[in-house]
């Protein structure tokens, strides 16, 4: 019972802090509504984006055993340096499981190895859109994006993507 009273106290504390009723706190701190959209830079700490209190990490639906077998084949072909064959197998996996982020990340990695940075970034973005609620996917996708940007000579963009990846490291 003692524990419950403490929780009640905490809840009341929260209630007084939150202005508009019982809405759940958003994952990112919300800017007070009356502030202008663009604040002068001096008032905002630079380069450190606000870190969300909780990192969202939803489980991914499993890949089918068939698609998993193809992903293993991709890895084997990559290990032997057969990049084109690996890409073809990854595409086969992708046609089997197009809504799963794994085959997209796999193909993005191959495109990086093939020096096709723009494609690698687009495919990593696709993986983010399909699996952005899963921490490991976010980390890997942003890492690919960082490398792809570096490859294209966009150092600032690469650093930004690297920072973004590190949040989920």
């Amino acid at each position: 019972m003692k524990r419950s009273i403490w929780m009640l106290a905490a809840a009341i504390g929260c209630l007084t802090a939150c202005s508009a009723g019982l809405r759940l706190p958003p994952t990112a701190p919300e800017r007070p509504a009356d502030l202008p959209a663009a604040m002068p830079n001096v008032e905002r700490p630079e380069a450190t984006p606000p870190k969300p209190a909780i990192l969202e990490d939803a489980p991914l639906p499993p890949l089918s055993p068939a698609a998993q077998a193809l992903m293993r084949q991709v890895e084997a072909q990559r290990a032997q340096g057969q990049m084109d064959a690996a890409a073809a197998t990854a595409e086969r996996a992708l046609r089997l499981a197009p809504t799963h982020p794994e085959p997209w990340l796999s193909l993005a990695g191959i495109r990086l190895a093939q020096q096709r940075a723009e494609q690698a970034e687009a495919m990593a973005r696709r993986a983010l859109s399909l699996g952005g609620k899963t921490r490991a996917i976010r980390y890997r996708a942003w890492s690919v994006i960082a490398e792809a940007r570096q490859m294209q000579g966009d150092s600032a963009g690469a650093r930004e993507a690297r920072d973004r990846a590190d949040r989920d490291a």
Binding site: A20, A66, L96, P98, T99, E118, M123, R126, G132
Partner: protein, 769 residues
């Protein structure tokens, strides 16, 4: 010889000379024909059009493929049910949840998949287990045959699948000879006995019922002569047949005949040879035909159109049964087998009736291949082309189009036509292309070549340009009020809405969902026509774009295929993937020649695309396409209607789950038809989406975007408890800040959801811990 001349002497020396001259003339003529026969037979080139295959069905453990789906596919590629699956191309249903299949040997670009017997086990979710019955091992993945959906034949229309003599079933050859040329093995090219028998039979019947031509003569006729009927031609034919037999082996003549004989017509495509005829009529290789199926092909030699198995089934069956009787006469069948074979139906493949379904899709394949291959390479080299085309999707698209156009009716003089393009939302793979109603009639390929104004289909580009600029959110008020645009040359343009009304200030997403013209023009002018053009380019529109204000309402002409490219980028969340139909080109002997890899690049910011996706969903939920709101919510159906001046073109471009479909409906003569995009094109789209298999695409909101409840009419902030409120995505800091009273808890229409009630509930739960 000399005595013959002497006998002629009493008629005078003139007769002798005349005979001599005539004889030498024949000899010279024969020598000329001889050269013709040899050079033309030696230098002839088979037309070997590229064969185009659909995507193979992959059987994979854990994949959501149902038993019925596999059964449909097996029928499509000509597998037959059998109690024992001891030969490739057979299968057996082992109860409710299991299938045994003897998969054929298949050549793909990445190697050969040997023939093998497998067992597939299913549960309610799909495939649970794959077993290799020969090696007693488990498998995870195996491909079924891709369907041969057509060929890229040349101007001559000749299509064939080349066969070696050894690959032809014995009964087919023996049966063919028994019916068409029983003395083939013994005659020297012509068979006077057969001519006599035919003459007698024809005299008795009073009409031509039997021909006395040998196979060699038939071949000569096909290879060297035109279809003129004259004595001179008959003479040439006989002489050339003799010469052909003089120079070449029987086996070579027979093999050529088997590949050359004309066995059917499908539009402009001529089916030559038994190899292709087997695929065309039965959907399976020649060596898998049963005896009565072989007999049907032999029956067709006499007249493929007169005995057409679909158009003249009774005639075809009667002729086939005569052929089977002949088989029995020569001892190929015993009486019991004969009765059994004659009792069987013709058994042509169900898809034969839809053989024209792929015309438009094949046009696309040809179009894309022409970028890398010459016309000769496509028609002569026997290339094998593996595509992303999905036969089942193709059927669904064509029948949705035909069904809905029939329902819409005639509507005036010219009949309604239409086109459909279906692609995979995530990969850009083209799955189906319908270029008209039932394009068996081989009309024009509207999907690829009908270039029409796109009307309101352009609007997503206007709104995307605005959302990308960062100055607008989905609820920014836009004024749908009369607008006057100064054009070059002192003219003015005053666009209005189709209803003739103006709707005043409304949230941005509503202006798109309701397709309001004045609001769109106002917004487009604010972001600038050049920005809209740039957005169209980034979405993948390559066509000519005029930098005029009328562009904002769709003064740009695109084909349905080009529209599909534009909407592919939208459906794909701003990632542009060139629409792809060809996966791989392989040489006739299985060597991979060229692979067309998946390519994509980023075209628009994920944040702006998330907002556009939500607005296009509103089009379907409550906007101009709300008739499609019946689709499951998990499919997040989204799209845009389009109608052009005087309702000449009706468009709908939209996506649901993992599929994108673009539909155009209109007339070939471009006259008004009295149908808007939602009345003319949307029904086709919805019909297709309801009949096809859809899989949800889980889209994660990009970072920097979150959902917020708003009131759809005023665009003000709301809460879930506000009546009619909807949830829309906003960039951080851009959500409306002016809340409705209900969102502040001041006016609770429903006491159960008031903050006090929620607190009370929490309190009670706490106490009961």
């Amino acid at each position: 010889m000399l005595s013959a001349f002497r006998r002629l002497l009493p008629f005078g020396p003139w007769a002798m000379w005349a005979t001599l001259i005539a004889t030498s003339a024949v000899i010279v003529y024969a020598a000329y024909l001889d050269r013709e026969v040899v050079t033309r037979f030696e230098t002839r080139r088979w037309s070997l059009p590229a064969q185009v295959f659909g995507r193979p069905l992959e059987l994979g453990v854990g994949e959501p493929t149902s038993r019925d789906r596999v059964l449909r596919e097996l029928q499509r590629v000509g597998y037959r049910p059998s109690a024992v699956i001891d030969s490739p191309g057979t299968y057996r249903v082992d109860g409710q949840n299991r299938l045994s299949i003897h998969v054929r040997r298949l050549t793909f670009w990445d190697g050969v998949q040997p023939a093998r017997r497998i067992r597939v086990a299913f549960d309610a979710n799909g495939i649970t287990e794959l077993t290799d019955l020969d090696r007693r091992t488990t498998l995870t993945l195996i491909r079924l045959d891709p369907e041969l959906i057509g060929s890229l034949y040349g101007a001559d229309g000749e299509d064939r699948v080349l066969l070696q003599l050894e690959a032809v079933p014995e009964t087919l050859v023996l049966g063919l000879l028994a019916v068409e040329d029983r003395r083939f093995t013994r005659h020297a090219g012509i068979d006077p006995g057969a001519v006599l028998r035919a003459a007698v039979a024809n005299l008795r019947a009073g009409r031509v019922i039997q021909g006395g031509s040998t196979l060699t003569q038939q071949l000569v006729k096909n290879l060297f002569l035109d279809s003129e009927r004259s004595f001179r031609r008959k003479f040439d034919e006989a002489l050339m047949a003799l010469l052909l037999e003089w120079h070449y082996e029987k086996g070579e003549i027979l093999e050529t005949y088997l590949n050359e004989v004309y066995l059917g017509q499908q539009g402009g495509r001529a089916i030559h040879g038994f190899g292709l005829a087997s695929q065309y009529y039965f959907g399976k290789p020649l060596d898998e035909l049963e005896i009565q199926e072989q007999a049907l092909l032999v029956a067709l030699v006499k007249g493929p159109s007169y005995y057409h198995p679909l158009r003249q089934p009774a005639r075809a069956k009667a002729r086939r049964d005569v052929v089977l009787e002949r088989y029995a006469q020569v001892g190929l069948l015993d009486p019991a087998q004969l009765a059994q074979a004659q009792a069987k139906p013709l058994g042509v493949r169900p898809a034969l009736a839809r053989a024209g379904t792929y015309t438009a899709a094949l046009g696309l394949v040809r179009d894309h291949l022409m970028r890398d291959y010459s016309a000769d390479a496509l028609t002569l080299q026997g290339l094998r082309v593996f595509t992303t085309l999905d036969p089942e999707t193709q059927e669904q698209a064509t029948s949705a189009l035909t069904r809905q156009l029939d329902r819409l009716g005639q509507r005036g003089k010219a009949r309604l036509e239409g086109a459909v393009v279906v692609t995979d939302v995530l990969t850009g793979a083209v799955q189906a292309v319908a270029g008209g109603r039932n394009d068996a009639a081989e009309g024009m390929n509207r999907a690829l070549f009908a270039r029409r104004p796109i009307g309101s289909l352009v609007k997503p580009a206007v709104y995307l340009a605005a959302l990308q600029s960062g100055a607008y959110s989905l609820t920014t008020p836009i004024d749908d009020a009369p607008v006057t645009v100064q054009l070059a040359g002192g003219k003015v343009w005053q666009p209005g809405n189709a209803s003739g009304q103006f709707y005043g200030k409304e949230p941005l997403f509503q202006a798109l969902a309701q397709s309001h013209n004045a609001a769109t023009v106002r917004l487009g002018l604010a972001v600038g026509v050049p920005a809209v053009m740039k957005t169209l380019r980034s979405l993948g529109v390559d066509a000519n774009i005029q930098p005029v204000p009328a562009l904002l309402l769709g003064a740009i002409e695109l084909t349905p295929f080009e529209v599909a490219q534009m909407y592919q980028t939208i459906a794909g969340g701003g990632i542009r993937a060139p629409l792809q139909v060809i996966q791989q080109v392989v040489s006739p002997d299985g060597k991979p020649l060229q692979r067309y890899p998946l390519a994509m690049e980023t075209a628009a910011s994920p944040q702006a695309m998330a907002l556009l996706h939500a607005a296009l969903q509103e089009v379907v939920r409550r906007g101009t396409a709300r008739a499609a709101a019946v689709l499951p919510a998990s499919m997040e159906a989204a799209g845009k209607t389009g109608t052009t001046d005087d309702q000449r073109d009706a468009w709908f471009a939209g996506y649901a789950g993992d599929r994108l479909a673009v539909v155009w409906v209109g007339r070939d003569d471009n006259t008004p038809m009295g149908l808007s995009g939602s009345a003319g094109a949307l029904p086709v789209w919805l019909d297709f989406m309801r009949h096809t298999e859809l899989h949800p695409v889980r889209r994660t909101l990009p970072e920097g975007v979150s959902l917020q409840w708003v009131d759809p009419t005023s665009g003000r902030a709301a809460g879930p408890e506000c009546p009619g409120a909807i949830e829309l995505p906003f960039r951080d800091g851009s959500a409306p800040v002016d809340p409705l009273p209900c969102a502040l808890g001041e006016d609770w229409p429903d006491a159960r959801s008031s903050p006090a009630q929620q607190l009370r509930q929490w309190w009670q739960e706490l106490l009961t811990r």
